[in-house]
Amino acid sequence: MTLPELALQVAWARLAWGVVAAAVLLAALPLRGARARAVAVALGLAVMWLPGPASPAFWLGLAFQQPSGLLAMLCAASVGLRFVDRPGLQVLPLPLAALLLAGGALLYADAAGALSLGLYAWGFDAVQAPLAGVLLSVLALAAAVRGRQAWAGWAVLLALTLHAVARLPTGNLFDALLDPLLWLWALGRCGSAAVLWLRRRRTSVTMS
């Protein structure tokens, strides 16, 4: 179990919550033009560095601790895509969302005592977790260089690299790739895809 230094965790929390806030601001506000978007991003990032309780990171940390590396990277990708005018693109691809949803359900059921697998403890394992991390990095590299939904592959790869190099956010492999907010995002993504699929199926059945 190798954990990050507390000071590094505090800095990561502020930076990562800033990226998440910037992504949410750009998604929620009808901003036109790169300049307005840049101001929103700067605001989202800067406000997290306010001291103590004046910082939203202080209250977000109270509720959620730090975002996972993957949530921060996907939010960074979302911000980047809005600057290249591709706001309609789904940052969280359906296959990745399905993986996060299924893996998260198992991890959280185990953590809540419904199962007894010791999955979260395994995420600190000194040998198996690093091996799994490297294996996942290779798979993410393949996704990143394949071209289709490459940003998702990059997000996974960078989250794993951040975990391997700086142990952020907690030193646990699962916390690099998942957190409750990202799991809810994956749930929403899979849920909306399922609704769309059902609607299309119903329409095609009606037409035939």
């Binding site: 179990m1 190798t2 954990l3 507390l6 965790q9 505090v10 929390a13 502020r14 103590g52 309780p53 990171a57 202080f58 209250w59 977000l60 940390g61 109270l62 509720a63 959620f64 601790q65 959280y108 953590a111 809540a112 005592g113 419904a114 007894s116 010791g118 979260y120 403890a121 995420g123 600190f124 394992d125 000194a126 040998v127 690093p130 091996l131 991390g133 490297v134 990095s137 290779v138 590299l141 990143a144 260089v145 490459a150 592959g153 990059w154 790869l157 960078l158 794993l160 690299t161 975990h163 391997a164 190099v165 907690t170 030193g171 646990n172 699962f174 916390d175 998942l178 957190d179 409750p180």
Partner: protein, 377 residues
Amino acid sequence: MLVLALACVMLGAACEWRRVAAAGPAREPLLAVKAPPQPARAPRLVPHGGAGLIPMPEGVPAAHASALTVLPSGELLAFWWAGSRESAPDVSLYVARHAGGQWSAAQKVADRASLGRQLGFGVRRIGNPSAWTAPDGRVHVFMVATGLGGWAAARVVQLVSDDAAHGFSVQRMLPLTPLANTSVLVRSNPVGLGDGGWLLPAYFELRNKYPLVVSFDADGAPRWISRIGRSTTALQPALLPLSGTELRAVMRDIGPAHRIQQAVSHDAGRHWQDLPALDIPNRDDSVAALRLANGGYVMLHNDTLPGGSPRQWLRLSTSADAQAWTPALDVQRGVAGDEFSYPSVQQLGAQLHVTYTAQRKAIGHQVYDIDYPEAAP
């Protein structure tokens, strides 16, 4: 882009490889226990006198959940939380020192503001402490500090003191669950390992309750986490080392059995099996237990009286082998509605020190002389 992606993979792999190589082959440390005298014998405890209450901070009306540890100098430290009421914003963690038969005035260790400043995020409630003096003399305090919500949003903060518990700094928030790191608490004290490390008992409580143990190295860095058994109705484990490898956990019960729950490990805490419950009543009450230096075991637990309330009677039981327990004496026996609960126990020389929550208003303290009756010829 390919080069950059490859560089990321190589960098990550190099960092992980360096870490794996530094870890070396896993050699689990044994529990730090002296071989007990044979045959195994149960201790006899004689009240020493000098019982009373630990002085509360000025004007503070509520107290709960004490934890004891002994400094290398022989000074006994008691940690507990106190404030206007449980979960109030003014609840703080305090420490008092016992030397020469007297308790010092309570000194504040941490409060919500000081934790928030050091952690970089907010803390809502302050709860149970657990304390450990490492072989290097540093005092580690593990305390409950919740996120947004009640005790189910609890997290565990590790504080450390390099100056005999005069000043503490936050070392880290222990990462113990993937659920926004919530719902894990501590209550009873760690047990030592042969390499200078220790095992910290902890527990999860969000609907299901289950016990955990966290291993630390001699520098106070966490090594691994292990769930104690498969029960979802046992919590607040107290650990009893039987040998270098065998470890028992006795636990508070929230299940229908209303008996102290048990589990055993045969590899110094790494893996656990549930055992049948002890024949000692437990109606959702915390227990404390200790292996004594010269053999034998003690356990503090609440017992029930007909028509009484669950926490009015605090007893001390003894055992030669941590399996068969005999009630030895009453630490407190009040009337219905009284509360003497959440005990903590430490041995200091030939004396046993016991602290407990007294009516939720203060921390009670009792001292017993430890004696070993001669075996009948």
